[in-house]
Symmetry: C2
Subunit: 197 residues, 2 copies
DNA sequence: CTTCACATGTAAAGCGTTACATGATTTG
DNA sequence: CAAATCATGTAACGCTTTACATGTGAAG
């Protein structure tokens, strides 16, 4: 009956992954995402809390009330990976990632920019350039911070691999933005098509 | 009342953009996407047809029945950009693109790969490398094809800008995959953490 | 007469964010 | 006691894909 388990979501697995770093509450998971996989992954509370319940119903995580929820505030429910949960995580980690066609609004605007001409297109390129340069610096800082804070953590190499992806991408695309600016400069003198006000 | 028009979707604008290249039916739009912005944008029929109706209701496009729908098959409804539609497109093109945090499943798996060890992580890196190298070749072919087919089209420079984005990205990430492979090779001898079967 | 290619359209389901509602504890 | 922080949870909404339903004409 359930021969094709073509799963759609990765939220469950991402939470299992986070919990493999140690027991955490839903609130802490959300915070931890920002400090770890936040550069290439997001989850909202609206996803996290229901998913944790679902995972617990499947026996993949186990929870217990924790009164010392950070020394103040409401008591938190701390979730921990169970052995079946770890098994499931490993299983998923062993399967090739699905690729997804992404939507890139900047490229969409640039593609149609003959409609507004090179000056406006250059604004997009400049914004992109600034963003990529800032990203590059940020990734550098993350790389240094991780290396300094967890010099001996066995997972550090894997974390750095993801940081260097961001670094490589930012660098390459900052250079692309430069080239784009130069190219637009070259066609700048000409007028845009169509009627303008 | 409607002081904040914080729109969420870009489907309308993407269709206006496509129609700025010439009148087209919904079916043709879907095909054209694959040949133009398909590397960084997708739209499904389920979006295209209702959106075209919505655009027509707003007077941004105008349609008419076309019996010669490619010489065979059902007659098609061909949509054309109106002047207000072109105005709206230009307006949107002039506004900076919103950035979106993307989800990257490969990086998610690599981030947590200490759980399964370097060998399995290398599989992900190899798959990524192959994908980026194929992308690079594909972008090269697109660049050559566009340049040959539309050597004098005024929008060619803009189209090439988006192709070179893909090229720069693919090249940089293929190199990252190589570095990653080398790094994982280095830590290869060590054993993965935790218990394994 | 079946299949293919062309072509339009809707309904349902899945995924995800945002906004809202609630509660507890500490600090000023 | 007001505000801030910590914390959980749900409901509503919006976007997008997938699956389905339908129709037409040409070619084999």
């Amino acid at each position: 009956m359930s021969a094709d388990d073509a799963k759609k979501t990765t939220t469950e697995e991402s939470l299992l992954g986070l919990l493999s770093m140690g027991p955490m509450s839903g609130y802490q998971i959300k915070q931890r995402i920002g400090e770890s996989i936040g550069n290439f992954w997001t989850e909202s509370y609206g996803q996290i809390y229901p998913t944790l319940k679902r995972l617990e119903a499947q026996g993949l995580v186990a929870s217990k009330d924790e009164e010392t929820g950070g020394e103040r505030g409401r008591p938190s429910r701390v979730y921990a990976l169970t052995e079946p949960g770890r098994e499931r995580l490993r299983e998923w980690l062993g399967v090739p990632a699905r690729s997804q066609v992404m939507r890139n609004e900047t490229l969409l605007k640039l593609f149609f920019s003959d409609e507004i001409g090179p000056e406006a297109a250059m604004e997009h390129a400049r914004a992109a350039k600034q963003m990529f340069e800032m990203s590059e610096q940020r990734y550098h800082a993350i790389e240094a911070g991780l290396t300094k804070q967890w010099p001996n953590h066995p997972a550090l190499p894997y974390w750095l691999i993801t940081v260097r992806y961001g670094l490589a991408q930012s660098r390459a695309l900052a250079a692309w933005a430069d080239d784009t600016l130069a190219e637009l400069e070259r066609i700048g003198p000409q007028r845009a098509r169509g009627k303008h006000s």
